[in-house]
Assembly symmetry: C2
Homo-oligomer: 512 residues x 2
Amino acid sequence: MTVTTQKTTISAYGRLLDLAREASLLGSTAQLLGWDQEVLMPGGGLDYRSRQLAQLARMHHEMVTDPQFGDLLTQCESDSELTADPTSDEAVNVRELRWAYDRKTKLPPALVEEEAKISSIGQHTWAEARRNKDFSQFQPVLEKIIDLLRRKAECYGWGEGGEPWDALAEDYEKGCTAADVETVFIPLRDRLQSLLGELMGSSTKPSNTFNELPLPLEQQQKFVKFVSETIGFDYSRGRLDTSTHPFCSGTHCNDIRLTTRYHEANVNDALGSTMHEAGHGIYEQGLSYEHVGTPMGNSVSLGIHESQSRMWENQVGRCEAFWRWCYPKLGDFFGTAINGMSFEDVYGGVNIVSSGFIRVEADEATYNMHIMIRFELERAIIGGDLAVADIPDAWNQKYKEYLGLDVPDDAKGCLQDIHWSMASMGYFPTYTLGNLYAAQFFEKALKDMPDLEGQFERGEFDTLKIWLNTNIHAPGQRYRAADLCVQVTGQPLSADPLLRHLEGKLRPLYGI
Amino acid sequence: MTVTTQKTTISAYGRLLDLAREASLLGSTAQLLGWDQEVLMPGGGLDYRSRQLAQLARMHHEMVTDPQFGDLLTQCESDSELTADPTSDEAVNVRELRWAYDRKTKLPPALVEEEAKISSIGQHTWAEARRNKDFSQFQPVLEKIIDLLRRKAECYGWGEGGEPWDALAEDYEKGCTAADVETVFIPLRDRLQSLLGELMGSSTKPSNTFNELPLPLEQQQKFVKFVSETIGFDYSRGRLDTSTHPFCSGTHCNDIRLTTRYHEANVNDALGSTMHEAGHGIYEQGLSYEHVGTPMGNSVSLGIHESQSRMWENQVGRCEAFWRWCYPKLGDFFGTAINGMSFEDVYGGVNIVSSGFIRVEADEATYNMHIMIRFELERAIIGGDLAVADIPDAWNQKYKEYLGLDVPDDAKGCLQDIHWSMASMGYFPTYTLGNLYAAQFFEKALKDMPDLEGQFERGEFDTLKIWLNTNIHAPGQRYRAADLCVQVTGQPLSADPLLRHLEGKLRPLYGI
């Protein structure tokens, strides 16, 4: 759409974008400081770093809640030409900046302050309780957190027929409700449960030897860097470092920083983590620099972000065609240390399924069960259907029902995740939404490019990357997640593609 | 001194310090971004990084030129109790904050903008001219730079009997005039010239084999990190990384970042650079965290800073006692690769003197000649006694006179340094002032602790470090450089200690 309205309106929109870009610029500085703190900063720097970050947060908050921002938004919204086509760059920027402005200004400052405080105490108390494997130590603080989250949800409000959980989830997955999540999670849970039953009951299982093979860390580093570069992460616009928990951070599309981790006896973990983070990074690098600092230059949602990391980690990095190419590379990087590993040992090893207590150690299939349990619980907690005191029992019951496990203690149970202690509810489902979007996008990509797996076997990943750049990355926030899914695949999000992907790959590996 | 004045004054001083700390906090964020850009940032990030830094610079400038700052300073200055003792924390903070505020507000914004522009063009043009070894290409821009610097000096003003150069040097060495510099430089130049004559004329010379020995980079890294840690750089509050040009950067005393560089066939370069930067780092780590962000928590001047780096690099790292301890360590780190190097090869090798064209490659003794030449020239240029067009001839003449060299081209001559192209004049002398302060402080340290060299032989450096912490680092900006020298050594700065140090060490090594 060409903007041809009178000068004053153009200028209001221009000024709006200037303010947005300024705030984003400062936010990106804070992001870099956060990255540095996690990856490089000497321990002694912690106190001063927290002061630096607090200063930037305060300045950033002033910028994004500046009433001038609200005035300019109102001017832009009242200009019908600017917003005539709801998918034009201008309309999208105005729509999403409005969302962000309202979100930031709806909470009373006292509540924001209370949240920062309770979240800090929450994390501290949670860590202590986890060490002692004792939920009852965490319970009083979590009760306060839940009370605060309910008040927060009231401030935000939720849609007709919706519920408080929706208001909180909006921070992570705009426009996605608990009802939406349930629609895809219920069929996923049911069919996944029976698939897991089939796999666990089978007498054939892939070998685990590849996951126990010690390989020198320096060679692992070179190997995973090579793979991430080959699949399309651009090192002239990014880095790869080491941290305890792998993550992807970046100030903008031309400076994206991945981290991964290495264990001597598990190159599969380093490879999976690196491909996962590289997937996030390829998304970020695929955003438009021209639109940097505005919604048209931003990623859509956590769920869509996770779809990009999971696709490279799982749909690509755990498929047979990928390993037809990558298996011989192991010899190039690890020499004789890899001798004795057959193709089946490796390809089977990276796809082993086994139920466990810990979400972050879970395989591609059972991972979703962990998420669905958390979603069901947090929805009930926020909705008032589950008392905080009853969380451990409810948790353990669901682990028994969905995964057949007897949780031995709270540390391996309801105290394992940091999220709730940080006053973060509504986040968990984005992990599984990511898996669902990944599978649905990838099915479409395979349909559009039937030779894709043949290309993987030859070590060619450009076609997929360009398809993702065009369909998912370059549009920025033009579409919200659910709409993007329909735009790209022609269908609303469904559990079927992920189930087809898991069943189609795992049954043969388990001799079913 | 206890502040016992009425409430309002306390509060003015408190508010003044709050503003200073806020500005310093933001400045430290910019410093971290600068460090990251030099050391880690992927090339693609350059454009956005310059936007981030410009934003921070703008915000920082607003903070430090805020008229409220000036009002608070005036209030504090008029409180006689606050400033009664001129060396009290309060008086020092008010004095140095006043200096900084006046410095920032004396320049008209148009001049600041012009300087940023001309300095950017200057560096670009200089790099091009240096590539082409042709000063005439740089001359027109340098003429504009000199014109601007003269106007800048006029804005700042200078003391009675002083000259424009003084006004510019004030940025690097507060309170130091060209006349002060000359007082120590003339005797230094004369006696150094005759020392160099003696050394060059001697038939005995140390062996150069140590400086040509290839040693693996990974072992060099471990070796120099070990030495820097042993002499007292605290890695729980700092880092060591690699960059093209070694430097020391840090956001505050608990997060100090050194860089160094490695050449396979010159571990001496890596060691010297690392000890030099570690010396800067030990100074920064020795500043008071309690006073962070205020003058009492800041270093004194570039000259004093350089005295700390040079002392560890030269007085310690090139002395015989140090090598009595360090020589056997070479075997620990480099194994058989070091076989065949005698103690004399190593100790002599790190102390070789040879005249060359390039300042940054110069040895401990001739280095000062390079500086004195630049000082004499820039003083004449700014004072109007030397036309820009005549710089190459004047440069070459001085190199012939002081170092006996025929400069082959402008790249190896007057185009070798970046400083003037950045509109930076008055900076060069701080390098040699640093050498002079280092020698004078070290002589006093030896007098206070006669066993110091015995300690070095045993690998003990704590006593010297604590002496420096107490006498030089902890006082922050309580004294300006010249006064600090008198406070610590009982004497004003003199060329004698450095000459005694050089003559005492080099003559025996050259069989004189």
